[in-house]
């Protein structure tokens, strides 16, 4: 055996140099270009490197690794104090193979035991659809699942017994209000975690009621093996977690690129990594995805179940759901199944930190169902899994529009011609096509909209106007149904141009939060959705002093609208919005209103939008008509 120093003597320096500048070594080091600065490793935990300059110099790191691997008495590294060969099994395997290293092989008990737990058959990338219940979930989420071979005595595997691998911010149990700030500024450590898939299902499908889209990847056993080796290497380090770009979806891409270095995924994501976009990037690679499946949210399963019941069963369901005491001993299996699934949905939504009997499923229902017996005795275990293959009408999220949009528009406003642009980095508005996004919803962050207005008479009077800089605007319109009577809500704020005070260059800042109701009048051909929202506003503008004697004003708006979906690519919105404002303390109140009709026609990635608005202000009223071309990217 060679001593540490002599290992290097026998190695070809050119070979070392070539390996260190090669793609695979750099992938193992998570070599990337940060927003600011030159290329370096993205890993922030120091134990990831053996060389003090390892973060910035792949060649020095390679040499230091060889020395560490070749030293049988090397100090233990990482939380479980492993020999370097065992802490970095993929680096070791790769360098040993490429450099024909002749070293004492260490017995890596922990690593071998861990890897043996998988028995992998394939690897699946899972996408949890957006969820408006929490800010971090509004853009969707991705993680990996290692699909195992069936266990002995079984010819089909049960997904629940697989393990999921995800990248998450280590925020601790009670992150507190600083959570958002820390997540945006990279103040949390991101680490790789592993959880039984059943916990993922309970979390996303049952508690949050989100669809899970499963993309089985086209990877060979050897590729999956190398990826697992590299996943073990991730356990020794952390990555500063940035909510917008270096997030859950971004770091997963490293694992996929190690599995198949020909896949170039990370380079598409610098400023922003939207989970759905990572699926799009993967689907663009020919043959990367073998199969797509959908595991529907619990509410969706429930709604499908209700469709299979006859009218009297549906009536019994709603009657007993409202009052369990009305449960009779003549309920059908169908009704009981639906009641149980509903109560499970309710109980899981209400899970609290402190045990509360409210969160349990009603024993009466459970015993009634068990007593009703084995009408379903013909169901075999093959039909146990209730995952749907993709059906007609279920459009996978990556086929929806890109998450960013740039538009240019032109038209006329109050006898002035105008042209302008709008840049919306994220994410969706009510008129954009729905697929892959929550329908009847809006999630906008950092939108800029500006116009240049031409007076018809004198070009010296043309002017530029910032129409809008939306910091955030979230709208969640929900149909009020017998099944789920839920309220709609809206919240937002940013810089805006106050239309009603007739001041050309005034700008203001506003925040608003409100709610209301939505109704699905028709389900299809066309889909018609009505809504009504009340929003209190608070606004500050230099233009208010004249009118109110004060720079701020408080107001309330009422908006009624109809959203008509003629097809998956053609949508129309008709709305009427009234605004009442006052600045407190006896100042005059003002009123104005706006009615608008818009239609959007999408030929992805392009959208054509026609807008006509009528402004009814205190001292004047006028039209604004615009044609916009948008490009989703």
């Amino acid at each position: 055996m060679e001593t540490a120093g002599s290992i290097l003597e026998h190695l070809d320096q050119t070979r070392i140099h070539n390996l260190a500048s090669g793609r695979y070594w750099k992938l193992l080091l998570h070599w990337e270009k940060p927003l600011i600065g030159s290329l370096r490793s993205g890993a922030d935990g120091p134990e990831f490197f053996f060389s003090p300059e390892g973060r910035n110099d792949p060649e020095k790191e390679l040499i230091a690794d060889v020395l560490a691997f070749g030293n049988p008495d090397a100090k233990g590294v990482g939380p479980i104090k492993q020999h370097p060969q065992c802490a970095f099994p993929e680096r070791f395997r790769y360098l040993k193979e490429q450099l024909h290293l002749n070293v004492i092989q260490k017995d890596c008990v922990d690593f071998k035991k861990w890897k043996a737990g998988f028995n992998p058959k394939s690897l699946t990338l899972v996408y949890a659809a957006p969820f408006f219940g929490s800010p971090a979930s509004m853009f969707g989420h991705t993680f990996l699942r290692v699909d195992s071979n069936p266990r002995p005595g079984h010819f089909k595997k049960n997904d629940l017994l697989d393990y999921g691998i995800s990248f998450e911010a280590d925020t601790g149990i009670n992150p507190g209000p600083a959570y958002a700030v820390k997540g945006l500024l990279g103040l949390y450590h991101g680490i790789f975690l592993q959880q039984p898939y059943y916990m993922k299902i309970n979390n996303y499908v049952n508690m949050e009621s989100r669809d899970l889209w499963e993309y089985e990847l086209n990877l060979s056993d050897e590729q999956i093996d190398r990826m697992l080796n590299h996943t073990w290497e991730m356990g020794i380090t952390y990555f500063n977690y940035y909510f917008f770009n270096k997030n859950c979806s971004y770091e997963l891409l490293s694992l996929l690129e190690v599995a198949n270095p020909e896949w170039r995924l990370k380079e598409n994501f610098k400023l922003m990594t939207i989970p759905g976009d990572t699926i799009r990037a993967l689907k663009k690679i020919p043959g990367a995805v073998r199969k797509v499946r959908l595991r529907p949210a619990l509410t969706r399963i429930l709604q499908e179940e209700l469709k299979t019941l006859n009218d009297s069963e549906v009536e019994r369901f709603y009657l007993v759901r409202n009052d369990h005491l009305k449960l009779s001993n003549k309920e059908t299996i169908g009704t009981l199944d639906a009641l149980l699934d509903w109560d499970k949905f309710r109980a899981m939504k209400e899970l609290k930190a402190v045990y509360d009997p409210e969160q349990n499923i009603d024993k009466k229902l459970l015993v009634a169902r068990a007593t009703a017996g084995t009408a379903n005795a013909t169901r075999t275990s093959d039909k146990e899994t209730e995952i749907f293959e993709i059906k007609e009408g279920d459009i996978p999220p990556e086929e929806g529009h890109g998450s960013s949009k740039f538009s240019i528009f032109a038209g006329a406003e109050n006898s002035l011609s105008l042209g302008g642009f709008e840049l919306r980095p994220v994410f969706q508005d009510i008129l954009d096509p729905d697929e892959g996004y929550l329908s009847h919803s809006s999630l906008v962050i950092g939108r800029v909209r500006a116009s240049y207005l031409f007076t018809s008479v004198n070009s010296g009077q043309n002017f530029f106007r910032l129409d809008d800089f939306t910091v955030a605007d979230v709208v969640n319109l929900v149909a009020l149904t017998r099944f789920q009577p839920k309220l709609s809500w809206r919240i937002g704020g940013g810089v805006f141009h106050p239309v009603d005070i007739e001041c050309i260059n005034c700008e203001g800042v506003k925040i608003s939060a409100g709610g209301g109701l939505g109704f699905q009048v028709s389900d299809s051909n066309p889909e018609i959705f009505l809504y009504s929202l009340i929003d209190p506003h608070f606004e500050i503008s230099n233009g208010f002093s004249n009118l109110y004697g004060n720079v701020s004003r408080f107001g309330v708006s009422l908006e009624d609208g109809v959203l008509i979906k003629l097809s998956s690519r053609v949508k129309s919105l008709l709305s009427f919005e009234s605004f009442w404002y006052s600045a407190f303390s006896g100042s005059p109140s003002t009123y104005w209103s706006k009615s608008s009709a818009e239609i959007s026609v999408a030929f992805l990635p392009i959208e054509l939008r026609l807008t006509s608005e009528f402004f009814f202000l205190q001292n004047q009223s006028y039209w604004r008509v615009l044609t916009s071309f948008g490009w989703y990217y």
Binding site: S134, N158, P196, L366, A370, W489
Partner: protein, 164 residues
């Protein structure tokens, strides 16, 4: 030893005991799933939306804990961990006599594929013995299930043959 020290020591043991009790006798308990309701919406509109973190994350190479080793649930804790994490699913599916969680649970308990439907039928017909009136913790629940399995010849041969 004065009264103050004595009560301090006793108090300490009571605290330890109650903490251990909350986690269940085998110490693998998820306890209650730790959940926060902390969203912009819930703070402004007092709506019951859920945002939460399941703290039962298993770090890769963070070593072993009571329940997991570097990411995997310890084999001997698999049944208990699954039962705790899936109690609602199991309650419902055992009443129905079939289901994905029920099948997974049967697998963990050692049943082979053909025996799973019998396991489902058993859980339905012996429902109230498996789920007595009082809310049971996972270890007691598993014991009642195993008791039924031992009493049923089909389940004994299809699930427990590796033990017997």
């Amino acid at each position: 030893m004065n009264k103050f020290s004595l009560s301090l020591v006793l108090g300490f043991f009571v605290l330890m005991g109650s903490w251990a009790f909350a986690y269940g006798p085998s110490g693998c308990g998820l306890g209650s799933l730790i959940i926060q309701k902390d969203t912009i919406v819930s703070q402004t509109l007092a709506e019951t939306s859920n945002a939460f973190l399941l703290t039962q994350f298993f770090g890769i190479t963070s070593g072993t804990s009571n329940c997991n080793s570097n990411g995997f649930v310890l084999r001997e804790k698999e049944a208990e961990h699954f039962a705790e994490a899936n109690m609602q699913n199991l309650e419902v599916e055992m009443a129905k006599g079939h289901g994905e969680s029920l099948s997974a649970f049967a697998q963990i308990l050692g049943c082979d594929q053909q025996t799973i439907s019998s396991f489902g039928r058993m859980s339905q017909s012996h429902y109230e013995e498996i789920f007595p009136k009082a809310e049971s913790q996972a270890p007691q629940f598993i014991k009642s299930v195993e008791k039924q399995m031992v009493n049923d010849p089909v389940l004994r041969s299809g699930c427990l043959s590796h033990i017997i």
